[in-house]
Amino acid sequence: MVKGLVVADWKRYVPGFLFCLAFAFIGMNLDRLFRSLSREGVEWATFVYESAQMNYVAILLLGGIVIRNFLPIPASLLPGIRIARPVLKPGIIILGVHYVWADVIRVGGLGLALTGFFIFGTAIIVMYWCKRWGVTDGLGGIMGAGTGVCGVSAIIATGPVVKASPIEMAYAIGTILLFGTLMLFTMPYIGQGIDLSESQFGAWAAVAILNTAQLVAAAEWYGTEARDTAVLINVARIMFLPVVVLFSLWFYIIRTGKEQDAAPISKWQLIKDKFPVFILGFFVLVLLHSMNIEALGGPAEAGSPFWAMNAAYTWCFAIGFAGIGLSISIDDMKKAGGRAFAIGTVASMVKMILGLGVVLLIGATALRVTGG
């Protein structure tokens, strides 16, 4: 039975994953070193840690990019590096211990309204204009979903539904990765430049950054309050994924009568297949934290189960960020092009500017997660 649970070719994942673990360990310890030297008043360390914001997120992302693109990485490491990215997911589930239901209802409700507006606004406008410009249904569908919901993950969920061709998916993925990476490295500095509060930055990142991995990284880089707001709104955002896939199905297949030519599609099955089940784990932890169970303690209560989980989340994030940094390849981003690039440019710029305006209007207090 145990054998059945193990992937047949698991050995090919080991070297790359171990490499990510070691890289995450180095990144975390460099963060600790810079922080302690900065507190002791060492000038260069203060510059690196405070002014240049070189915390573990930046070290792992920038270091990963340098290693991936400028050093000869053996091909045997790549499969393990790829599976390190989703380790971020258990980290997001564990982050549930940072919230209480009041946060979920207030910030999550606001986030639901915000993301609902931006997701459907982007998806509908992109798909409508793509139709008008004569862009193929495949490319229009994946760009609408990709720029609207959660980037590459949305392209993967929508691609087979709208029958996007491999070349269209390559263009779209390249474009999303390019803009996601550009936003990851520019938005935190813009936020600092205009003195944006952490909670507002978290909401802005959750609304504007096209790809999930880069969104979580940018928010964690900006600060813990930014991360808490961004993760909660992001959870609200990905709940819309099955709805957007269903919308694409209706827009390109059902509405145009193409369903009759293709194999029948069960809408209920589609919703079930595309629903991100892991967020239920996140809500279970929010519920447990809200119930204030003494035996579980809290994330700030040393020695308690929730405190231990909180420590584990940082490692999940560090391994995930190591995987993300080591996966950012300039060659992949070079695939951005054609009409996908034009659509991506317009959608990301509009979302970035409009999103900033909206979070400035809402203000910091309404977007702040209190954690009880």
């Binding site: 990215r85 997911k89 993950s153 491999p166 999930t212 099955p242 991100p276 060659d331």
Partner: protein
């Protein structure tokens, strides 16, 4: 003599096939067509929030296999029409690495790849297969790149 021609199914490799057939006929050489199924898209099935991974992989594989079968059919038909003895090799994986492996295995005297007439920006964005192969196989490799000028659609079959 053995000639290897790399075909990705895009219009510019059509010029390479044309040139390979011409040379094979002149030299009475054996012509080998090689198509590599590009695995690049598969890696994204491990994206953080990817839902419907299996469906995505099945769709990508089906599209790539359909394309490979189309490339094979078209290549064999053109060779047959020109009465050039040919065979077709299909590989799966990283393009440059797989081509290098086939060169190592079959030891062709000549390798022909297609190429586009690129602007400076396009050259930056290009994967530059010819340069990758030279790096992988060394300069001893006799390789020809057939460039299809973008303003010469008559060369695109």
């Amino acid at each position: 003599m053995r000639i290897l021609v790399c075909i990705d199914g895009e219009p510019h490799t059509s010029g390479a096939v044309e040139r390979a057939i011409e040379l094979a006929r002149a030299e009475s050489a054996e012509l080998i067509g090689l198509h590599v199924i590009d695995e690049w898209l598969r890696q994204f099935s491990s994206e953080i929030y990817a839902q419907g991974r299996k469906e995505y992989l099945e769709w990508v594989d089906q599209c790539l296999e359909d394309k490979a079968s189309e490339v094979r059919k078209s290549f064999m038909a053109r060779c047959h029409a020109s009465s050039v003895p040919a065979r077709f090799v299909l590989r799966d994986g990283d393009r440059a690495a797989e081509i290098a492996a086939v060169i190592d295995e079959l030891e062709p005297e000549l390798v022909i790849t297609g190429g586009k007439d690129l602007t400076r920006w396009q050259r930056f964005r290009s994967a530059n297969l010819a340069a990758q192969l030279r790096k992988a196989c060394g300069n001893a490799l006799s390789m020809e790149t057939v460039t299809v000028p973008q303003r010469r659609p008559d060369l695109v079959v």
